[in-house]
């Protein structure tokens, strides 16, 4: 459910920061599934993987927001429709 909402947000939102937030939302949905299955199966491995997912999400958001700052300083816009430098 949460992952689906994240996908919907990722597809519909045009603001680049909100798109980052929806990525975090999807990661959180996966984390919740990991914890639930770790609980159901009585294994701790899922919790360790949640830990790793959180660490990777922290790194990803740091780099991603740095890229957002770069883009905003260079292009004066935060609408992904206008970021068309890479388009053919």
């Amino acid at each position: 459910m949460l992952f689906g909402l994240g996908v919907v947000a990722f597809v519909f939102k045009r603001h680049i920061i909100t798109i980052f937030m929806s990525i975090e939302l999807m990661l959180n949905a996966v984390n919740l599934a990991f914890v639930a299955f770790a609980r159901a199966r009585g294994a701790l491995d899922g919790l360790v993987f949640v830990f790793f997912v959180i660490v990777v999400a922290a790194a990803e958001s740091a780099v991603g927001l740095a890229i957002v700052i770069m883009l905003a300083q260079n292009r004066q816009s935060m609408n992904v429709e206008r970021e068309n430098l890479l388009k053919l």
Partner: protein, 167 residues
């Protein structure tokens, strides 16, 4: 009994926060909705017997990552989002998300493990202790743990290189 009530309230709040994240026009409202989602998810982790993960969720997500988001929103003076025509990926994306939802629901109600999961039949009642978790983290998963530290270092350096002004 009170745990079930708490679960219901927190699950509803999580979904409501996610919907608010999508509907809000201003990025700062979306960020605050995401904070709500993080905190209620931490409560859900507590209910699922994972107190360490709940603490990490609060500290790293609601603390560090959301502060980073709000800081960037304030720094860039992000205004109201303009609604333009959405991307061409939207239609198949929504269809695929809906199919995934249906599939999970079907699996939940019709497979053996799904039913066991839904009924909580053989779920252990004890909490996953931080001692056991760290034991596993530093023995079985020691190499991935060290690899993530290198990853964090690279991410910090990359963010610094990207965000500094050009000399």
């Amino acid at each position: 009994m009170i745990a079930i009530l708490l679960f219901m309230v927190c699950a509803a709040l999580t979904v409501a926060g996610a919907v608010t994240l999508i509907w809000a026009k201003e990025p700062i409202h979306s960020a605050l909705a995401l904070v709500l989602v993080m905190v209620t998810l931490a409560v859900l982790y507590l209910l699922l017997g994972a107190p360490f993960i709940a603490a990490v969720q609060i500290i790293v997500y609601a603390g560090a990552i959301m502060v980073l988001f709000v800081f960037v929103i304030m720094l860039l003076n992000a205004g109201v989002e303009e609604r333009t025509n959405f991307s061409k990926l939207a239609i198949p994306g929504v269809v695929l998300a809906f199919v995934l939802l249906l599939e999970i629901a079907h699996w939940m109600f019709h497979s053996a493990i799904g039913r066991a999961l839904a009924n909580g039949a053989n779920a252990p009642t004890t909490e996953a202790s931080t001692y056991d978790l760290s034991e596993m983290l530093f023995r079985q998963y020691l190499f991935p743990f060290e690899a993530t530290s290198i990853l964090i270092l690279i991410a910090v350096l990359g963010a610094w290189v990207l965000a500094r002004r050009e000399p």
